[in-house]
C-alpha cells in the first residue's frame, strides 16, 4: 500500500476516479507515512480520525461517479488557515487551544472539492521566519540530508508543508507566502511552490501576517499538481476586500503548453555576493533549458531590486505589529494574569510570542512611530512603487522572468537562528514578487554538490498565471528532477 504515497496528486486523483484504490486506502497509506515521519515534526495537529471519515464520504461519492476536483485526496493544511473545530495555532503559543468556529475560504474551497485533510502543518510562528525554527512547536526537519549529516531546515515559513510533501506524507499542502514562504521552502525541499497573484486566494480566515503581502498557494511535487490545487484554492471572495474578481485561467491546460517564442527575461540584479557558484551555474542551465524549448532569452534590468529586502522588512513588520495587536489574551488564546491591565498585556504577549515575532512587532512599531513614519514606512511604500514600475518596464520586453529562488541550499538547524540579518537574506529573490503582487513559482531544478535540492523561480505578470505555469512546466520537463530524499527517518 505504501506505494500510494509516491503518486503525484494528478495520478492519485486519476486512480481514485478509476477506482484503482479507494480514498480510505490512500488516506491510510498517508497516515502511516505521517506516523513514520513523526521525527520530521511536520505536523502541529493531526486529524486522522476525521480524515478517514472524509475519505469514506469521498469514496461514497466516487462510487457514484461524483466528486470534486480534489475528491478523496489526502492533503495537508498549513496551520495558518483557520479550520472549523480543528485547533489552529499559527505556530504560536499565544493562541493556546484556539479552535475556530469557522473555515477559511481557501480550505472551504478545497473541502467543497473533496479534499481529505490530514491535519495542520508546522510553520514559523505567525509565518515569520525562513527556517521553520521560530515555531513554538519546535523546528521542522528537512527530509533531505547531506549524506548522513546533521538535521537541515526545510526553509520557512511553510516548512511543515514543504517537508510533508517532500517526504510523501501528503499529496500536496497549502502554504502561504509573504516574502517567499512558499517558494524558499519548496526550493529547499525539492518541491514545487506557487505564490499566485495577490488577491487570487482569499485571505479570509487565514491568520494575518502582513495583509498587503500575504498570499496563499500550494506546495506539491509537480507543476501539474500545483495547477490542480491552486485551481481549487483560488477564487473571488467578497469577504476579502482585496480579493480579485477575475477568472483564473485553466492552469492544468497551461502545463505542457508550448513556450515557443515566449520571451524570458533574465534580470541582471538577481545575483548576490557570496552566492554559491552552483546556483549561478544552475541559473545559466535554466536559461539553456528554456531556450531549448523555443523561448527567447532577453536581458532586463530591475534597478530597484537592492531596495526590495529593506523595504520588505519595513512594510511587513509594520503591518504585522498592527495585525498581531489582537492577540492580547482578552477574548481567546493564552492569558498570563498580571498586576493590572497593562501588566497582563505585557506578560501575555511577552510569554505568548516567540523572540522573532517580538522582534518584528518591535521593528514594526518603531517604523510606524511618530517622527519615523515618513522616513521608514512612507519611504518603503515609495520603494514598493518603484519596484512595481521596474517590473512593468520589464514586461515591455518579456513575458516572464527566470531567477534563482534562493541564494543558498538548505542549511543546518540552528546555524542562522541567531543571525536575523543573514536569515532575512534568504528572501532576497522572492520578496520582489510579493512587493509587486506578482505570481511566481519555484521549480526544483537540480541537486548541489552536497546532494541538496535547488530551485529556479519563474515570475510572471499580474494575473498571468497561465504563462507562469507554462514556463515552469517547460522548466520542469527539461530539469527532469526525479531525485527523492532517502527515507532515513523510517
Amino acid at each position: 500500500m505504501s506505494d500510494l504515497t509516491k503518486l503525484t496528486l494528478e495520478a492519485a486523483l486519476a486512480g481514485l476516479k478509476a477506482k484503482e484504490f479507494s480514498s480510505v486506502e490512500i488516506t491510510k497509506a498517508h497516515i502511516d507515512a505521517c506516523m513514520e515521519a513523526a521525527d520530521l515534526n511536520a505536523f502541529i495537529t493531526t486529524d486522522f480520525t476525521n480524515a478517514l471519515k472524509s475519505a469514506e464520504k469521498s469514496d461514497a461519492k466516487l462510487a457514484k461517479g461524483e466528486g470534486g476536483a480534489l475528491e478523496g485526496a489526502p492533503l495537508g493544511i498549513k496551520d495558518l488557515f483557520c479550520t472549523e473545530n480543528v485547533k489552529t495555532t499559527a505556530g504560536s503559543k499565544i493562541l493556546g487551544d484556539f479552535k475556530p468556529q469557522y473555515e477559511s475560504t481557501v480550505t472551504a474551497n478545497m473541502k467543497r472539492d473533496g479534499m481529505v485533510m490530514l491535519g495542520k502543518l508546522n510553520m514559523d510562528e505567525f509565518a515569520m521566519g525562513s527556517s521553520n525554527e521560530t515555531s513554538a512547536f519546535g523546528p521542522v526537519v528537512n527530509p533531505w540530508r547531506k549524506g548522513k549529516g546533521e538535521d537541515l531546515v526545510p526553509g520557512g515559513s511553510s516548512g511543515g508543508s514543504a517537508s510533508a510533501v517532500a517526504a510523501n506524507m501528503c499529496l500536496g499542502a497549502t502554504a502561504t507566502d509573504t516574502g517567499g514562504s512558499i517558494r524558499q521552502p519548496a526550493s529547499f525541499t525539492g518541491t514545487v511552490g506557487v505564490k499566485p497573484t495577490y488577491g487570487r486566494c482569499s485571505r479570509w480566515g487565514v491568520v494575518a501576517f502582513a495583509s498587503s503581502l500575504d498570499q496563499a498557494g500550494p506546495i506539491t511535487r509537480t507543476v501539474k499538481d500545483s495547477a490542480i490545487m491552486l485551481q481549487s484554492m483560488a477564487g473571488y471572495d467578497p469577504k476579502d476586500s482585496t480579493s480579485i474578481n477575475k477568472p483564473m485561467p485553466d492552469l492544468s491546460a497551461a502545463c505542457g503548453k508550448s513556450i515557443k517564442g515566449m520571451k524570458i527575461g533574465i534580470p541582471k540584479e538577481y545575483t548576490m555576493d557570496g552566492m554559491p557558484r552552483e546556483i549561478e551555474d544552475l541559473w545559466q542551465q535554466g536559461i539553456k533549458w528554456l531556450e531549448s524549448c523555443g523561448a527567447e532569452i532577453v536581458h532586463v534590468s530591475l534597478p530597484h531590486t537592492k531596495y526590495a529586502l529593506p523595504a520588505y522588512y519595513i512594510v511587513a513588520p509594520a503591518e504585522a505589529s498592527s495585525n498581531l495587536a489582537r492577540y492580547d489574551g482578552m477574548r481567546y488564546g493564552e492569558r498570563v494574569e498580571g498586576a493590572n491591565l497593562y501588566d497582563t498585556y505585557e506578560r501575555t504577549r511577552a510569554e505568548g510570542f516567540g523572540k522573532e515575532v517580538r522582534r518584528r512587532i518591535m521593528m514594526g512599531t518603531y517604523v510606524l512611530s511618530a517622527g519615523y513614519y515618513d522616513a521608514y514606512y512612507l519611504q518603503a511604500q515609495k520603494v514598493r512603487t518603484k519596484i512595481a514600475d521596474d517590473f512593468k518596464r520589464a514586461w515591455e520586453k518579456c513575458d516572464a522572468l527566470l531567477t534563482p529562488t534562493c541564494p543558498s541550499a538548505a542549511f543546518a538547524v540552528g546555524r542562522k537562528l541567531n543571525d536575523p540579518v543573514t536569515m532575512y537574506l534568504n528572501d532576497i529573490f522572492t520578496v520582489t514578487a510579493n512587493l509587486a503582487g506578482l505570481p511566481a513559482m519555484s521549480v526544483p531544478a537540480a541537486l548541489d554538490n552536497n546532494g541538496l535540492p535547488l530551485g529556479l523561480q519563474i515570475i510572471g505578470r499580474a494575473l498571468d498565471e497561465e504563462t507562469v505555469f507554462a514556463a515552469s512546466s517547460a522548466l520542469e520537463s527539461c530539469a527532469n528532477f526525479t531525485e527523492k530524499p532517502n527515507k532515513w527517518w523510517k
Partner: protein, 497 residues
C-alpha cells in the same frame, strides 16, 4: 502666531483679575450613522440588546477576519457632507489607529486620518442670545466605534460589551469658531437638526448616538490662542455648556495664578459639573496611523455624489425660510420649529393637514412653542412620544378658532388632554366648557354684577379702567365660559361708557 479672527461679543467675555477673557471652542461631534449594520460587518446595531449579542467574528477580531466596508455608511457620510455644504472627497482612505484596550478587540480602530471622505464646509448657527454665526467644518470622517467597558458591575472585574464594537460613526470636526457655551450648544443643536433632517443619524444624545468632544481654550480677547484642553464624550446640550463654563474658569484661574495650561484630555463629571484629567500630554498615545492594508481606498464618482445631492431632503435653513414665506410666522418662531425635523413635521401637520384650513399659523406656532413644548419639557417627554399629537392639538385649535372655547379655557383643556383625559371635544363636552354666546344670558349676568356692585358702578364714569373689574366679575360668575368680547360690549353699553 495664528489668531482666530472673530472676537466674541463683549457680553460673552469672562471677567478676570487684570483683564477680561475670551473662550475659544471647537467641537468634534461623533454621530452614529443610522445604519442597521456595522461599518465593516453585518452585525446589527440596534440599541439596548443583551450584551455581546450583536457581535460578528469581525467585530470580535477573531484570527483571520477581514473588514468589508458597508456602502450604505459611505452614502450617509456623503449625504451628511452635502448637508454641511462641504467638499466631498472622491478619494478617501481608511487608516488604522493603533492602541490597546479591552473594548478595542482589533488593537486598532479603523478610521480615516489622512484622507477623510468629507472636507471643509460650514453651517450657520443662531444662538438664542445673539446674532447668527458661521461655524466652519474642518472635516467629516468615518470610523468604527469601540465596545463598552463596564467597570461598575464588580469591584474587581471589568466587563466588556462588544455590541457597539464596529458601529459606524461620523466624526464631524468644527473649526475653533465658537466663542461661548451658548454658541457651542447651538452648533450641536443645529448639527443635530441637519443629520436628523437628512436621516443619517437619529441624533439621540441620551443613547450616545450623538456626543461631543469639546476643545476649550481661553485668551485675552482677540489675542493669541491659548493651549487647549479636550473634554471627552459630553452627551447633552446642558452638559456641553456646563463643561465649557467650568473648564474656561479653571483655565483662567490657572493662568491668573501664574500657571500654564497643560494640553490634556479631560473628562466631564456630570454629577459634579466638573472636568478632571483623563490623560496628560505625556501619556498621549502614539497611534501609529497607517493605511489599513485590508481595505481598498474609497473611490466614488461625481455621478454618485450628484445622485445623492438630487435626492437630499429639505434642510432646516431652507425649511425655515419656507415657513416664514408660506405661513407668515416670524423668523424666530420658524427657527425654533425647524431646528428639528420632528418639530417641523408636527407643525406642518398642524397647519396644513386636511381640514386645517382655518387654523391660524401664528396661533398654532404659539401653542406648540408655549404650552406643548413647556409641558413636554416639564414631563421630559420627546415630541415623538407626546400624549397630545398634532391631530389632537389641531382639534383644540379648531375649538378656539370657531369660538367654542376661549383661549384661556383652552389652556385648561390642553392640560387635561396632556394628562390623558381625552380629546378636546370630549373634555369640553364633559366639563361643559362651551363658551356662552347667548346675549340674553350674558346680559343677565352683567346686570347681576352691576347690581351687586353699586359703588364701583358709580365710579366707573370717572375711572373707565374699572371696567376690567366688571369683566373679571362677569367672567368669574360664568365660570370663564362667557365670550369676553360680548361681555365687554354689553358692560360698556350698560355702564354708559
Amino acid at each position: 502666531m495664528f489668531t482666530a479672527k472673530r472676537i466674541a461679543d463683549q457680553k460673552h467675555w469672562l471677567s478676570g483679575r487684570d483683564h477680561d477673557w475670551e473662550v475659544i471652542i471647537g467641537l468634534e461631534v461623533h454621530a452614529q450613522v443610522a445604519s442597521k449594520s456595522k461599518l465593516f460587518s453585518g452585525a446589527a446595531t440596534e440599541y439596548g440588546a443583551e450584551p455581546n449579542t450583536q457581535v460578528s467574528l469581525v467585530d470580535a477580531a477573531m484570527p483571520g477576519m477581514l473588514p468589508v466596508v458597508n456602502e450604505f455608511c459611505i452614502e450617509q457620510a456623503v449625504r451628511t457632507g452635502l448637508g454641511l455644504s462641504a467638499k466631498i472627497n472622491l478619494y478617501s482612505r481608511f487608516d488604522r489607529k493603533n492602541y490597546f484596550y479591552p473594548d478595542l478587540p482589533q488593537g486598532y480602530q479603523i478610521s480615516q486620518f489622512e484622507f477623510p471622505i468629507v472636507g471643509e464646509g460650514e453651517i450657520e448657527i443662531e444662538p438664542e442670545d445673539g446674532e447668527a454665526v458661521i461655524v466652519g467644518i474642518e472635516r467629516l470622517h468615518l470610523e468604527q466605534d469601540a465596545g463598552k467597558s463596564i467597570h461598575d458591575l464588580s469591584p474587581d472585574d471589568t466587563f466588556v460589551d462588544l455590541n457597539r464594537s464596529g458601529v459606524c460613526l461620523m466624526e464631524i470636526v468644527s473649526k475653533p469658531d465658537m466663542r461661548s457655551p451658548e454658541e457651542a450648544s447651538a452648533y450641536v443643536e443645529k448639527l443635530r437638526g441637519i443629520v436628523r433632517a437628512l436621516g443619517t443619524c437619529d441624533g439621540d444624545m441620551e443613547k450616545g448616538n450623538l456626543r461631543a468632544d469639546v476643545n476649550v481654550s481661553v485668551r485675552k480677547p482677540g489675542g493669541e490662542l491659548g493651549t487647549r484642553c479636550e473634554i471627552k464624550n459630553v452627551n447633552s446640550m446642558r452638559f456641553i455648556r456646563q463643561a465649557i463654563n467650568y473648564e474656561a474658569r479653571r483655565q483662567i484661574d490657572i493662568l491668573e495664578s501664574g500657571g500654564e495650561i497643560d494640553q490634556e484630555t479631560r473628562l466631564f463629571d456630570n454629577a459634579k459639573g466638573e472636568t478632571r484629567t483623563m490623560r496628560s500630554k505625556e501619556d498621549a498615545h502614539d497611534y501609529r496611523y497607517f493605511p489599513d492594508p485590508d481595505l481598498l481606498p474609497i473611490n466614488i464618482t461625481q455621478a454618485f455624489v450628484d445622485g445623492i445631492k438630487a435626492d437630499l431632503p429639505e434642510l432646516p435653513d431652507a425649511r425655515k425660510a419656507r415657513f416664514v414665506a408660506d405661513y407668515g410666522i416670524p423668523a424666530y418662531d420658524a427657527g425654533i420649529l425647524t431646528a428639528d425635523k420632528a418639530k417641523g413635521d408636527f407643525y406642518e401637520r398642524l397647519v396644513s393637514a386636511e381640514g386645517a384650513k382655518n387654523r391660524d399659523a401664528k396661533i398654532a406656532a404659539n401653542w406648540m412653542m408655549g404650552d406643548l413644548f413647556g409641558a413636554l419639557n416639564k414631563a421630559n417627554i420627546d415630541l415623538d412620544d407626546s400624549p397630545v399629537n398634532s391631530d389632537a392639538l389641531g382639534e383644540l385649535l379648531d375649538l378656539i378658532g370657531d369660538k367654542t372655547i376661549s383661549g384661556k379655557i383652552a389652556k385648561d383643556v390642553f392640560e387635561k388632554m396632556f394628562a390623558g383625559e381625552g380629546g378636546a371635544d370630549e373634555i369640553v363636552e364633559r366639563d361643559g366648557l362651551k363658551q356662552v354666546t347667548d346675549m340674553g344670558a350674558i346680559e343677565k349676568m352683567v346686570g347681576n354684577v352691576i347690581d351687586a356692585n353699586p359703588d364701583q358702578a358709580a365710579k366707573v364714569a370717572d375711572n373707565p379702567r374699572l371696567i376690567g373689574f366688571f369683566v373679571g366679575q362677569v367672567m368669574k360668575s360664568s365660570g370663564g365660559k362667557a365670550n369676553p368680547q360680548a361681555v365687554n360690549e354689553i358692560l360698556r353699553k350698560k355702564l354708559g361708557l
